[in-house]
């Protein structure tokens, strides 16, 4: 339990394996074509989005409008870069801040709502943000979408890959540290029992607004990064369905552990692209996966290794008891 220095000593072995993984990820583009690199960038972005959704989730708030904050980040950054000609590097940060401020503002009223009521409110918020984007065509080009958003780098996609890799690692590091700290414990406490939490002096609304602020900030930054990567964004990119997809990634990956959203995003973002000509059926396939996961492994696919272990143990025990009798 005792920590010394920036990293605890007993974590060094873990750190080494993480370092190995990071080196592999850095070398990966050398062996990938531009299509695979594009896929990798999408996966990295979805890892940020799903993980930031989970940070909000652990405070007891199941958001059905997370994509709206991604959109706020993307549009803020894109509009500032196009209309005012500011450098995308600066506007991306402002995009994240805009999403964070939006998260805090809706947090004040929304933190009074619990469970399904919060989810419903966030769902309508998501719909509302899409509609708002469409209402100001002078600024946002409405449903046509914003085109020719300034790029961060020139044509080859590798720099984007490294940019998103760094962004993802930094995000995951920060979210992990927050979750495994006093702040994270406060968020989880509020989710488990708001009565108990307030009896020991934890403000429920403060904790929940904080979770929204953190989650929305990273969602906004990732959205802004996406805008400057794809150079084209439209309101539908941030509508209801993307929000629901994020939720599906989170549920399938597993809400209970930090790795859940990471695994969920990797597996589910890649599946449609591996279906080749059957890509049109991807939503049905995703729905099927979600239902199977909910029934068979409610803790998500991240719990599969432990699950299989216990299945094998049970099988083994059964065989042993049979041979004894």
């Amino acid at each position: 339990m005792r920590r010394r220095g920036f990293f605890a000593k007993r974590e060094i072995g873990k750190m080494a394996s993480y370092a190995g993984l990071i080196i592999l990820l850095c070398l990966a583009p050398l062996f990938m074509g531009s299509y695979l690199i594009h896929l990798a960038i999408l996966v990295l972005m979805y890892i940020i989005l799903t993980s930031s959704l989970r940070t909000i989730y652990i405070s007891g708030q199941l958001s059905l409008g997370h994509a709206a904050f991604v959109g706020i980040g993307a549009y803020t950054s894109a509009i500032l870069a196009i209309r005012l000609g500011w450098t995308p590097w600066g506007t991306m940060l402002l995009g994240g801040l805009a999403a964070m401020i939006a998260g805090i503002l809706i947090g004040f009223p929304f933190s009074r709502l619990r469970a399904i009521y919060f989810s419903m409110a966030s769902l309508f918020l998501g719909i509302m943000v899409t509609a708002l984007i469409a209402v100001f065509p002078k600024l946002t080009e409405g449903y046509t979408g914003l085109m020719n958003i300034p790029r961060l780098f020139g044509f080859p996609k590798e720099p984007y890959y490294y940019f998103f890799l760094v962004l993802t690692l930094v995000t995951l590091f920060i979210l992990y540290r927050i979750e495994h700290s006093r702040v994270g414990m406060t968020l989880k406490a509020v989710a488990q029992s708001h009565l108990a939490a307030s009896s020991i002096g934890i403000s429920e609304s403060r904790a929940r607004i904080l979770a929204l602020a953190i989650g929305c900030f990273f969602a906004g930054i990732a959205g802004a990064g996406y805008a400057h990567y794809s150079t084209f964004i439209a309101p539908t990119d941030f509508a209801l369905m993307p929000s629901i997809y994020l939720l599906v990634y989170l549920l399938v990956g597993g809400t209970g552990s930090f790795a859940g959203p990471v695994v969920g995003a990797i597996v589910l973002v890649l599946i449609p692209y591996m279906m080749g000509g059957f890509r049109g059926f991807a939503p049905f396939f995703l729905a099927g996966v979600l239902i199977i996961v909910i029934f068979l492994i409610p803790q998500g696919i991240v719990s599969l290794p432990n699950r299989t272990k216990s299945w094998i143990r049970k099988l083994h025990e059964r065989r042993v008891s049979k041979s004894v009798s």
Binding site: F6, S193, S198, S199, I200, G201
Partner: protein, 260 residues
């Protein structure tokens, strides 16, 4: 208590709470002195828990005021009242189920710690020192209340008696000046009751003032003073012996025919 300077610590004036047309608590004036352990007794539905909920801010009073340590705390939010120094336990303990026993208590200590994001992310030395201090304090609290055996057990897997004790541990970890205990021994077996009474005594010996609610008359023995209420109104007040003999109290508990 004679000879000691009695300082009124908690005071309610005309405290009233309506649920719809029903007065669950009506015009209750009561006071708790510093260092005292006061019992609030009464039959089921008398309004005892409502009073606890009003004092701790979980309910807003319809009328009347609550003064704590010279400060008017009427209508304050529960987490702010906890910060002022009023801890509480619950009749049915709402625990952090997915936390271990230790984590439940550690969470309580966070009230006294800064929860800076910066410190959490970069694990600054102040953060780590604070963390170590909290951990030690939590372990100490567990030991004091005999919960160290179940330190790493998930709260939801604890037996009922332990859950109640954990509720007490968590409330005392807030370092309250006044502790409100809502039926601290309800549903416990005799062994657990002994343990709980000892634990309450422990907490009290650290100078914590206690107001406890029970409808079990046994607990009265550890009280300095007892206040009896029925139908939301105060019907008697005094030493445990006095209240036990009080006609109104006997009538409230056993019905009119037993009062002589």
């Amino acid at each position: 208590m004679s000879g000691e300077f009695l300082k009124v610590f908690l005071e309610t004036n005309g405290l009233t709470k309506y649920f719809g047309g029903l007065a669950a608590v009506y015009q209750v004036d009561m006071s708790v002195n510093k260092g005292e352990i006061v019992g609030l007794i009464g039959p089921n539905g008398a309004g005892k828990t409502t009073i606890i909920n009003l004092i701790s801010g979980f309910l807003r009073s319809s009328r009347g005021s609550i003064i704590f340590d010279g400060e008017n705390i009427t209508g304050k939010k529960p987490h702010l009242i906890a910060k002022i120094g009023i801890g509480r336990t619950f009749q049915i303990v709402p625990l952090f189920n997915e936390f271990t026993t230790l984590q439940n208590v550690v969470a309580s200590f966070y009230l006294s710690a800064d929860s800076s994001l910066w410190g959490s992310i970069f694990r600054t030395s102040t953060y780590r020192k604070r963390e170590e201090y909290i951990l030690n304090q939590a372990e100490e609290t567990l030991q004091l209340l005999g919960l160290d055996k179940v330190r790493d057990e998930l709260a939801k897997n604890l037996p009922h008696g332990y859950q109640k004790m954990l509720g007490l541990a968590r409330a005392s970890a807030v370092k309250p000046k006044l502790l409100l205990l809502d039926e601290p021994i309800a549903g416990m077996n005799p062994d657990e009751i002994n343990l709980a009474l000892k634990a309450i005594d422990q907490v009290r010996s650290q100078g914590v003032t206690i107001l406890l609610v029970e409808h079990n008359m046994m607990v009265m023995s550890i009280c300095d003073r007892v206040i009896a209420i029925n139908y939301g109104q105060k019907i008697a007040e005094g030493s445990p012996e006095e209240v036990k003999k009080n006609e109104d109290v006997i009538r409230a508990y056993f019905g009119g025919e037993y009062a002589t």
